[in-house]
Amino acid sequence: MSLNTLVTAAIAVTTLGLSATAHAGKTLDAVKARGQLVCGVNTSGPGFSNADSQGKWSGLDVDFCRAVAAAVLKDADKVKYVPLNSQQRFASLQAGEIDVLSRNSTWTLTRDASLGVVFTGINYYDGQGFMVPKKLKIDSAKKMNGVTMCVQAGTTSEKNVADYFAANGMKYKSVVFDTAEAITSAFFAGRCQVYTTDMSDLAGARTKAPKADDYVILPQVISKEPLGASVRRGDDEWFQIVRWTQFALLEAEEEGLTQANVDQQKASNKDPAVQRFLGVSEDTGKLLGLDAEWAYRIVKQVGNYGESFERNLGLKSPLSLPRGVNNLWTKGGLMYAPPIR
C-alpha cells in the first residue's frame, strides 16, 4: 500500500537523516533500561504471531520474543509487540524501532549481507507451496500452466514462483496484493486459481477459508524458506543473546526439560549438562551479559521448542502441521543446537 511505502519512507528519512550518529552496541542496555523488549511480529500469521480477540499475542514467533524477554528481563510478559507487514519489517529494524524482528522471515544472502540486519538462526524450516480449490482437480504443481496466481508483495515467494515456472516452461499471471488479508479474500472469492506462499502460511490461510475442505495444498515444495529472527548489525553482544535464546529452546527439548518438569529437574537431575544449562553448577549467562538462570527462565516461562511448536503449529493446533524437518536432529529433523558450555 502506498501508506506502507510512506511509512517506510518516513522511517528511513527521519532516522537516517536526523539521527546524528548510528548507534551500535547498546541494545541490551537500552532494553534493560526500558524494562521492555520491543519485538516486531507478523500482523496476522496464524501459528506464528496472531492476536486474539482480547489482543493477546500467541504463536511460535511470539514465543521466541517471550523467550528473549525471559532471558534478558526475567519476565516473558515484558514484551511490546509491533505488528509489521512484509515491506515494513526490515526498515523498522534498521531504524531501531524494534529490538528483534521475529516475523517468519526467510534468511537469504541478500537480506543478511545488504540490509543492515543479520539473522540469528532458524526457528522454522519452511518451503514455498501452492494451495488450489479442489474443484479445479489440479493434483500437481506441474499441471498449473496458465493459471492466475495470488502472491503477496515484498516476499521471497514472488521470485521463487517466477523461477519455478520458468524452469518448468510454464506461464502464469500474477496478481500481487499488499497484505495477506487481501490475498486470502481475493483467493477465496475466486479471483485467482492458485495461492502461493510458505507451506506454513498456506496451512494458516486454509483455516480461514469458508470451507477448509474445498481447498488442497499441493505436495510440491519449490523452495527453501528457513525462517528466523534477525537483529540490527553492529551489536554483537545482542546478536549472541538472541541467537543463544533459540539454541536454549532447542537444548531444553533435547535434554527433556519442559515447563512442567523444569523445577523438579533443577533440584534433582545430576546430569552435568542439565546442571550447567539451568545455572546450578556453572554461570553460562555471565558470558552473554545475563545471569546464571537465563535458560532456566526460558524453559519455566515459555517452555522448550517442541512445546512451543505443538502449542502453536502441531497436530493438536488448528494448523495441524507435522513436525517433519523441524524435529530435533536426534529424531530425524534438522533442529540442532551447538553445546551450551
Partner: protein, 386 residues
C-alpha cells in the same frame, strides 16, 4: 560627497541598493537551503554506511526476478529493475489517462445535469456528486473490486457474447483484429487524418463546435477503420484455454475497478467545477444570449460554457493531478502500478530510499507534464478578452 542626487539619479541609486539588498538576502536563503539539503544527504549516506546498508542506484541494472501481471510491452522476470519500473510507470499512465478521459466526460455530463431545470436530472446529479465526493476513494475501490470478484462468474462459466466478449473473474476479454498493433496504429492514423479534415471543413460554416464535430468524426472513422482491419484480416477471439482465457484483448478486474473508481471519484469534483464555472458567468450573459433568440442549449454551448472553461481549467488541472496521484491506491486491489512494483522491489533488494526517490521523481514529472499541458490549454481559452 556631493549633495544627495536628485531625480533619475536618485531613483537609480535607490534601485541599485534595493537590488543589491534583495540579491544578498535571496542568496543567503538559497545558501541555507542548499546547505541543509547537502547536510541531510551526507548524514543519510554516512548513516547508511555506518549501518552497512547497501545504497546507490546500481541495482537498476540487476535482473528483477519477479513477474508482473499486466504488461503493455514485453517483460519477463529476467529483465532489469529499470524495465520493471518502466512497466509499472506504463500501467500508471494507462489507468491515469483512461481515468482522466472518463472522469472528464462524466464530470461534464453530471455538472450539466446539476445545472438543469429538471428536478429529476439535477437531483440525480446532486446525489451522484454527494455520494462519490463524500466517501473515501480507498473504500470505493475496495467495494468495487470486492463486488466484481464476488459477483462475476468463474472463467469456466464466463458471461459470453458469443465470439465477441467474455466477462468473468478473469476480467473483460474482447475480440480484436488479429493484426493487433497494426490495426491500432492504422485506425489511429486514419482517425487523425479524417478528424483534422472534417475539422478544417467544418470551421468554414460553423462558429462553435467545429472541434467537437471534427473529434467525433475522427473517433468514428478510427472505429470503422479498426473494425475493417478485423473484417479483412480476421479476428483474434477470446477463448477459454485450460485455466487461461487466451486470444483477444483483456482488461483485468483490477484495472477495471481502479479505472472506474478513480473516474467516479474524480468526476464528482469535476462536475462541481463545471457547475461553479457556469454559475460564475454573469447572469447578464444568459439574458443577452436568450434575448438574441438562442435556445437554452445553444446559449449554454456557445456562450456560457466557453466562459465557464476559463474559470474551471486551473482547478481542473489539480483534479487531474490528484487522479494521477490517487492511482497509487492501486496496490490495495492488486493492480501492478508503479507503487506496487516499487513495493516489491524494496523488499527484493531493501533499497527503500532509492526506490522512494524514484517514485517521487516519476509522480513529480508526470504532474509537471500535466501542469504544462493544462497551462497551455488555459492560455488558449483565456486569450479572448474577459
Amino acid at each position: 560627497m556631493s549633495a544627495a542626487a536628485t531625480g533619475d539619479a536618485a531613483w537609480r541609486a535607490r534601485r541599485r541598493a534595493r537590488l543589491l539588498r534583495e540579491g544578498l538576502l535571496q542568496g543567503a536563503v538559497a545558501l541555507v537551503v542548499v546547505a541543509l539539503l547537502v547536510g541531510l544527504a551526507q548524514n543519510v549516506a554516512a548513516n547508511l554506511e555506518a549501518r552497512q546498508i547497501k545504497s546507490g542506484f546500481g541495482f537498476l541494472r540487476d535482473p528483477a526476478g519477479f513477474n508482473i501481471g499486466e504488461l503493455l510491452f514485453e517483460y519477463d522476470a529476467r529483465d532489469s529493475y529499470l524495465r520493471a519500473f518502466a512497466v509499472g510507470m506504463a500501467n500508471t499512465l494507462r489507468v491515469s489517462i483512461a481515468g482522466i478521459v472518463l472522469a472528464s466526460a462524466l464530470g461534464v455530463i453530471v455538472g450539466l445535469m446539476r445545472l438543469s431545470h429538471h428536478a429529476l436530472l439535477s437531483g440525480l446529479g446532486g446525489a451522484y456528486v454527494e455520494v462519490f465526493r463524500n466517501t473515501p476513494l480507498l473504500i470505493q475501490l475496495l467495494a468495487i473490486y470486492l463486488l466484481a470478484t464476488e459477483l462475476l462468474p468463474d472463467s469456466a462459466a464466463a458471461l459470453s457474447l458469443e465470439g465477441v466478449a467474455l466477462l468473468s473473474k478473469q476480467g473483460l476479454q474482447i475480440a480484436v483484429p488479429a493484426s493487433g498493433t497494426h490495426a491500432l496504429f492504422g485506425a489511429g492514423a486514419s482517425g487523425l487524418v479524417a478528424g483534422a479534415a472534417v475539422f478544417v471543413a467544418a470551421r468554414r460554416w460553423l462558429t462553435v463546435g467545429a472541434g467537437l464535430v471534427g473529434g467525433g468524426a475522427g473517433v468514428l472513422v478510427a472505429l470503422l477503420a479498426w473494425l475493417s482491419f478485423g473484417v479483412v484480416g480476421g479476428w483474434s477471439r477470446p477463448e477459454l484455454d485450460g485455466f487461461l482465457i487466451s486470444g483477444g484483448a483483456s482488461l483485468t478486474p483490477e484495472f477495471l475497478a481502479l479505472w472506474l473508481g478513480l473516474s467516479l471519484f474524480t468526476s464528482a469534483s469535476i462536475a462541481e467545477l463545471v457547475r461553479a464555472g457556469a454559475l460564475a458567468v454573469p447572469i447578464g450573459q444568459w439574458n443577452a444570449a436568450l434575448a438574441l433568440g438562442l435556445r437554452r442549449g445553444q446559449a449554454m454551448a456557445g456562450v456560457i460554457f466557453p466562459q465557464a472553461l476559463r474559470l474551471a481549467i486551473p482547478p481542473l488541472a489539480s483534479q487531474y493531478m490528484n487522479l494521477i496521484k490517487n492511482s497509487s491506491l492501486a496496490v490495495v486491489i492488486g493492480y501492478p502500478d508503479l507503487v506496487s512494483i516499487a513495493n516489491t522491489s524494496i523488499n527484493q533488494n531493501g533499497q527503500a530510499l532509492e526506490v522512494i526517490v524514484i517514485i517521487m521523481a516519476v509522480y513529480l514529472s508526470l504532474n509537471l507534464v500535466v501542469a504544462v499541458v493544462m497551462g497551455l490549454v488555459n492560455a488558449r481559452v483565456t486569450r479572448a478578452p474577459r
